[in-house]
């Protein structure tokens, strides 16, 4: 296993930790909401994300390159999985505020797809890469917003999640440069921004979950 694969593994573990903590937060609320359907959908969504991320890592480690069809299929599953994890926060808890800041951030993230059109790849592969990045980034982003909207989330953690979300926006725009300079310090620098964003997300979600457990 080379360093890049191990680094991708570390990042994948952080992403999945974040998703499982977000699911745990909803499960804690669900003791009172008692909506088993939403809980089941969220767990299925989490499992889909696990399969997508795990599968991509495995294929990259064993075969090296990902084909266009695998990328496109993975991105569709990631979008479905992400949607299932995020949905209960909107339908069940109903505390997530879709404010101006969220709209601006989502718009800026989606606008970053313009930069990826300059990648020297076939069109279908380019679309697949863009969809895959959004499929994983957007659910993380909306989960950050959902957790920071909860009343149990302290002001310290709300501010941290705000910082993490803007770091994710920055990463979405800089990710292109890591594609252009693979396995160089620029590439790792861009990944570090993503990793910091994930670290902060996991920290804040974990602290929010701990606070929730004390309250409930």
């Amino acid at each position: 296993m080379d360093e890049h694969t191990l680094l991708s593994l570390a990042i994948a573990v952080m992403v999945l930790s974040g998703f499982s903590l977000a699911i745990s937060v909803f499960r804690a609320f669900n003791l009172y909401i008692k909506n088993r359907t939403l809980e089941a959908l969220q767990v299925i969504g989490g499992l889909i994300m696990l399969l997508v991320i795990g599968g991509l890592l495995d294929i990259r480690a064993t075969k090296g390159a990902l084909s266009s069809s695998i990328i496109t299929l993975s991105s569709l599953f990631a979008l479905i999985g992400g949607l299932l994890v995020v949905l209960p926060f909107f339908v069940g808890i109903k505390q997530t505020k879709i404010d101006r800041e969220l709209k601006v951030q989502v718009f800026v993230i989606l606008a970053s797809s313009v930069i990826y059109s300059f990648l020297p790849l076939p069109t279908l592969r380019k679309i697949g890469v863009i969809l895959l990045l959004f499929g994983i980034t957007l659910p993380i982003f909306i989960l950050m917003k959902s957790v920071s909207s909860l009343a149990v989330c302290s002001r310290f953690n709300k501010n941290l999640l705000k910082i993490a979300s803007w770091l994710l926006v920055l990463h979405a725009w800089l990710r292109y440069y890591s594609f252009k300079n693979p396995q160089t310090c620029i590439h790792y620098g861009v990944l570090l921004i993503y990793f910091i964003s994930l670290l902060i997300w996991v920290y804040s979600t974990l602290k929010t979950y701990e606070t929730l457990r004390e309250w409930l």
């Binding site: 191990l6 570090l192 990793f195 902060i200 602290k207």
Partner: protein, 186 residues
């Protein structure tokens, strides 16, 4: 693969935490408030890292002895709050272990292994006495310690960038856990 800036960022962050601790009000932070050694240790970490980036020299030895100083401060803090004895035996053991690794690999950069061991012990000691900072800090301190241990593994197997990422994770979790307590709670 070596990326100096990425490798030195966690040290700068650690130095910053200590310097901020020096300036924070005494009521929230009796441990480091206006203690000269806190300011010096903080400057040592941040300064040594900046010198390493600019002049491409290796100052891991200095950082190792610096973090041993921090471990002593934290052990003293725990001792005062719990009545337990300071674990002086940690220090010769850590130094011996670190020197063993350095001599095995014949490279001074492996003093960084000692820094990571100390960071892991620091997080675990605080976790063991979690009631001082708050019971909700247990899991974040565990994350910090685990990151530090994984970073050691990555460094010993030659994955310098991965080690730097995991070291950053360990320092960030410690920084946020202690920082939240000092700046936002009381």
């Amino acid at each position: 693969m070596e990326c100096v800036l990425i490798s030195e960022l966690p040290d700068i962050l650690l130095g910053l935490l200590i310097i901020i601790g020096f300036f924070t009000k005494k009521k929230k932070n009796p441990l480091l408030h206006h203690r000269p050694y806190a300011f010096l240790l903080g400057l040592l970490f941040s300064g040594a890292s900046i010198v390493e980036i600019i002049f491409a020299v290796n100052l891991d030895v200095i950082e190792f002895f610096g973090i041993l100083g921090i471990l002593l401060i934290v052990e003293r803090f725990i001792s005062i709050n719990t009545g337990k004895k300071i674990h002086y035996e940690y220090f010769p053991l850590i130094v011996a272990l670190t020197l063993l690794v350095v001599f095995t690999f014949h490279d001074l950069k492996y003093f960084h292994v000692g820094t990571l061991v100390v960071l892991s012990i620091l997080a675990l000691s605080l976790r063991e006495n979690a009631f001082i900072l708050g019971e909700d800090t247990r899991n974040t301190l565990l994350f910090s310690s685990v990151f530090a241990l994984l970073s050691i593994g990555a460094l010993l197997t030659g994955f310098n960038v991965l080690s730097a990422f995991l070291y950053f994770g360990a320092v960030l979790f410690l920084f946020l856990t202690v920082g939240e307590r000092i700046w936002w709670m009381g």
